[in-house]
């Protein structure tokens, strides 16, 4: 019983190196390289600011991911509350010291980068709740008193992010937390209740929304109504993707993005650009890459022995899936434009950092898959 533990703690560096999931690593690397090409295209086929800083960030955070992979799973378990609190402090810090850009206050200025704590909070919430549900006995999961902590843990950062305002990230943070709760066995009826309460509060929430956010939701319902105003992004994105056809217009030949019809092509609409230039087959390739990454993380979850590891990996994989799907649904015109980056592909340091952090923890679950945690 104790044997594996001692073995695990005394793994040699070589053992650790061998136990890394290289399929996952290579997939991430390929996705990173693809994202560099896409970024190069958004810069009009030149090495400009976006391309250069994206490449730099990718490699820095990819290296970070590698380092994190060797940190023991126990460490993550022990520090998860602390990590959550640290992120929360950063998030509160945003409210007081944050940088304001295009109407929302999301960033903290560190010298080397502008950090967006809400992105990190996506991981923080999962980490916190994975530990929380790992620790409480299964019978207590559905007890009311044990439901309060997760609700507060979730609601506090979500409210902070909504107030920034950043509806998209808030939804993604919330969805990550809900996934953990679901996996831990919280009954369906609680989800239904909270859904009902949410619906009841919706009118109040809508009245608190900024006008541009209201417009976005209305636009989603009928984008053609105001083609040059709020519906512009959805329409142009659909045109770009649709005009890509089966094989795409070719690398650096995406007229929609090249001629600036595409908004936010570096960040939220990077998939549109890629899809325009590489067509249906390119899109499928990206989907398959994401599918591979997600399935590898799920596989790690299957292998890992601790429930903390399982909860974390499944939740992170699901959250990752949600990030991808929300972004794609958005650019394909299936969801409202809420502003959510495509993991790894989109330009943005904090998003990249959060994803790599998440992947790093998942990888450490793989490396220390047999290590039990308390």
């Amino acid at each position: 019983m104790f044997q594996p533990r001692s073995i695990q703690s005394s793994l040699s560096f070589k053992d650790k190196l061998f136990s890394i999931d290289y399929v996952l690593v290579v997939s991430i690397l390929i996705l990173g390289i693809v994202s560099m090409f896409a970024m190069y295209s958004t810069d009009g086929g030149e090495f400009k600011y976006h391309t250069e800083s994206h490449i730099l960030r990718f490699f820095v955070f990819f290296f970070m991911f590698f380092i994190l992979s060797f940190i023991q799973i126990r460490f993550w378990h022990t520090t998860s509350y602390l990590i959550y609190i640290a992120f929360l402090i950063l998030l509160i810090g945003v409210k007081y010291f944050g940088l304001t850009s295009s109407g929302s206050q999301r960033w903290l200025n560190f010298y080397f980068m502008n950090l967006q704590p809400s992105e990190l909070m996506k991981i923080g919430v999962i980490l916190f709740l994975a530990k929380y549900y790992h620790r409480i006995p299964i019978e207590s999961v559905n007890r009311l008193k044990f439901l309060f902590t997760p609700i507060f843990v979730l609601i506090f950062p979500v409210l902070l992010v909504v107030m920034q305002p950043d509806l998209g990230t808030a939804i993604l943070i919330a969805s990550g937390g809900l996934v953990v709760a679901w996996l831990a066995g919280v009954r369906v009826k609680f989800f239904v209740y909270s859904m009902l309460i949410f619906t009841a509060l919706l009118p109040i929430a809508i009245s608190l929304l900024k006008p541009y956010q209201k417009a976005r939701i209305l636009t989603f319902l009928n984008p053609e109504k105001d083609p040059l105003g709020a519906g512009y992004q959805i329409i142009q994105s659909k045109i770009a993707i649709g005009s890509g056809g089966l094989f795409g217009k070719g690398f650096l030949n995406g007229s929609q993005s090249y001629l600036d019809y595409l908004p936010e092509k570096h960040t939220d609409f990077i998939f549109t650009l890629f899809s325009e230039e590489f067509g249906f087959f390119g899109s499928i390739f990206i989907l398959l890459l994401y599918g591979l990454i997600i399935s590898r993380i799920v596989k790690i979850g299957n292998m890992t022995r601790s429930n903390f590891g399982k909860l974390y990996c499944y939740s992170f994989a699901t959250a990752f899936f949600i990030y991808v799907v929300v972004n794609m649904g958005m650019v394909l015109g299936l969801l409202p434009i809420v502003g959510s980056p495509l993991p790894i592909m989109s330009y943005g340091g904090s998003s990249m950092m959060a994803i790599m952090l998440g992947l790093g923890i998942a990888m450490s679950c793989k490396v220390y898959k047999d290590m039990p945690v308390n």
Partner: protein, 644 residues
């Protein structure tokens, strides 16, 4: 503790796995949704989005096509094209119209009035339809605009072509072009697909008649533009297709000569080939500057044109209606001979007037002409002789002959403004005026007054058909080699110089219809016309040309505007003493040369006084010019293998 803990862990782990499985099923469903959307966008509706993407990318500026060229018989260009520099504006592409106008005002000196009208135009049309800010810039203005183009988004410098007319001489025959009006768009179907700003359409004359063929096909310039409407690069230029060019039968040199002779008189001249009906000259005066209409006519110029009493815009040669006056006497005499009413040598005594049916009918010569027969009657244009002939002939028989010779119906099909005139008879009067015919009116008709209305081109056709020996011809103004049956005729002429043309050859080769019952009658009329112009006492004797090559035979005419009062008649008031508006129209018809007729001419001078003093001298000069150019005209015709 540990075991329960471990059991708890395993149960929990199983729960997590079960729930994860459920989630995975959900994920798969979502993934299928995403995939379906991708298939629908990129495969099923791809072509639709490709079109939309191209619509995004490309902006097209339509280019007005080059109008076909109109040439004269000698391939001289009468209506051609020149390059013009224009500024177009697409309101949709401009960031701010106000700003553009402000900038243009400083760069181009556009007046506030112009900007006001442009604004009105913009408000009326669709935001993506270009408007022309300025259609005829000089080079320095144009280059200045190009210099400031980067700050004038939505403004498009265009090098276009516009109509150019060499001179005013053929303004009426060719007509003019001007901007497309709402009415044009409604009436002319072919314009529906060609909404190009600044495109001109034919408004009158040949330009109007030939418009559909001469206008050409619209071209375009296609540019790739970015989301802000800024041009990135030119993708394609289709210059369109220039319109079909046309060759006319007109002789520009003669046109100019005639225009010069006519000056600013209200007059018209028509010259026609008597065998094939080619219109050599068709001039109406005073003329106007057709170039002034191309870019929209200046208000002052327009006002000066429409307020001018002499009606410069009217094509008098085809739409001016005049009583034929004494020129009709040729037909009255012919009709009388054909109907065997009178013999050529039957005489009538002219005492200056006759009284019939209780009304006095005056001869133009107060003292009277004395004893008149047909030849002297025509030669001296004796009214009393023709009162008598008309009385015996009757108006209905006269109208038959007149219609046969082309009066009372349109001569050409090329002019929408052409009018058909009136050849009166009893049933016509019953129908259109609702009264019975009075015998007195027959007498008036006999000297071409009363209800008679004819156009100069009709009179020319009438003369031509008399001159060619009485055969029907179909006049034409567009050159047509295929229907030019002159060949056989010329062959015969060359092989048998000096021999008269046998009637059967003329008929067979020209597919002509004889208009006579007895060709001798035509000869009698022609002889009388010869006398009128070349024998002392003839009405146009003073304007004769003695050179055998140019000698013509003609008939004068004066059509009354207002009846002379008895007092005026007693006082022998001269035409020059009357007010301009009350003077008679002066007419003259002729054919030349006498011994081998080739051309017929009609001259009408509005309020010119008498035909002999005002119209015949003009005809004399024109005939000389036309005949001088005859051999050249003929050689061109033989040489011209190229047909346009």
């Amino acid at each position: 503790m540990l075991s329960t803990g471990s059991g708890n862990t395993i149960i929990k782990s199983k729960l997590i796995s079960r729930r994860m499985f459920l989630l995975s099923v959900g994920k798969a469903a979502v993934l299928i949704g995403i995939l379906g959307r991708l298939i629908s966008l990129q495969i099923n509706e791809s072509s639709k989005y490709k079109t939309l993407s191209d619509k995004n990318r490309f902006r097209e500026w339509k280019l007005a096509p080059e109008r076909g060229i109109i040439k004269d018989y000698f391939n001289e260009e009468i209506a051609s094209n020149k390059q013009v520099y224009q500024i177009h504006l697409i309101p949709e592409n401009a960031r701010s119209i106000e700003e553009i106008f402000f900038r243009l005002k400083t760069i181009l000196n556009i007046s506030d009035k112009k900007i006001f009208s442009l604004r009105k135009k913009i408000a009326k049309q669709k935001p993506w339809e270009p408007i022309i800010v300025s259609d005829n810039l000089n080079w320095s203005e144009f280059s200045r605009i190009n210099l400031f183009l980067h700050e004038l988004q939505g403004v498009e410098p265009i090098v276009s072509v516009a109509r150019m007319y060499k001179d005013n001489s053929s303004a009426h025959a060719l007509g003019y072009v001007s901007q497309v009006s709402a009415k044009d768009l409604k009436n002319k179907k072919y314009l529906k697909t060609m909404s190009v700003p600044g495109m001109a359409v034919g408004k009158t004359g040949l330009e109007r008649r030939l418009d559909e063929e001469i206008i050409g096909e619209v071209g375009f310039q296609r540019y790739e533009v970015n989301a802000f409407g800024k041009r990135i690069k030119q993708i394609k230029v289709d210059p369109g297709k220039a319109g079909k060019s046309f060759k006319t039968t007109l002789d520009l040199e003669v046109q100019r000569h005639v225009t010069e002779i006519l000056g600013d008189k209200a007059a018209s001249v028509c010259v026609m080939d008597i065998y094939n009906g080619d219109i050599v000259s068709l001039v109406s005066s005073p003329s106007y500057d057709p170039n002034a209409f191309v870019h929209g006519v200046d208000r002052d110029y327009w006002n000066s044109l429409i307020q001018n009493d002499r009606k410069p815009l009217t094509n008098k040669a085809v739409s001016g209606l005049y009583p034929p006056g004494s020129t009709i006497k040729t037909l009255v005499a012919l009709s009388a001979l054909e109907n065997k009413i009178i013999r050529p040598l039957d005489t009538v005594r002219c005492k200056g007037k006759i009284e019939l049916f209780g009304e006095k009918f005056h001869c133009w010569k107060k003292k009277g002409h004395g004893v008149m027969n047909m030849r002297t009657g025509i030669k001296r244009s004796c009214d009393v002789y023709f009162y008598e002939v008309a009385r015996r002939l009757g108006v209905d028989r006269l109208s038959v002959t007149a219609k046969k010779f082309g009066l009372g119906k349109k001569v050409l099909q090329n002019f929408s403004e052409e009018r058909s005139g009136v050849v009166p008879n009893t049933s016509w009067k019953k129908k259109y005026i609702g009264q019975n015919w009075y015998l007195g009116e027959t007498l008036h008709s006999g000297i071409g007054q009363g209800y008679f209305q004819s156009t100069p081109i009709q009179l020319c056709l009438m003369t031509a058909q008399i001159a060619n020996g009485g055969f029907e011809i179909k006049p034409r103004i567009l050159f047509d080699k295929t229907k030019n049956n002159l060949k056989e005729y010329l062959k015969f002429k060359n092989e048998n110089p000096g021999r008269p043309l046998p009637a059967d050859l003329v008929v067979s080769n020209f597919d002509l219809k004889p208009l006579f019952k007895n060709q001798e009658n035509i000869k009698i009329i022609k002889d009388a016309m010869y006398a009128s112009s070349n024998e002392p006492g003839g009405t146009s004797y003073r304007s004769r040309l003695e050179d055998k090559r140019f000698t013509f035979a003609g008939k004068t005419g004066s059509s009354q505007i207002r009846k002379f009062t008895e007092e005026q008649r007693e006082a022998e008031v001269k035409q020059e003493q009357l007010k301009y508006k009350n003077r008679d129209h002066a007419l003259f018809i002729a054919y030349a040369p006498v011994n081998d007729p080739k051309y017929a001419i009609s001259v009408v001078v509005e309020h010119g006084g008498t035909g002999s003093s005002a119209a015949a001298p003009i005809a004399k000069k024109v005939i000389k010019k036309v005949l001088e150019r005859h051999s050249l005209r003929q050689s061109i015709n033989n040489l011209s293998g190229d047909s346009i």
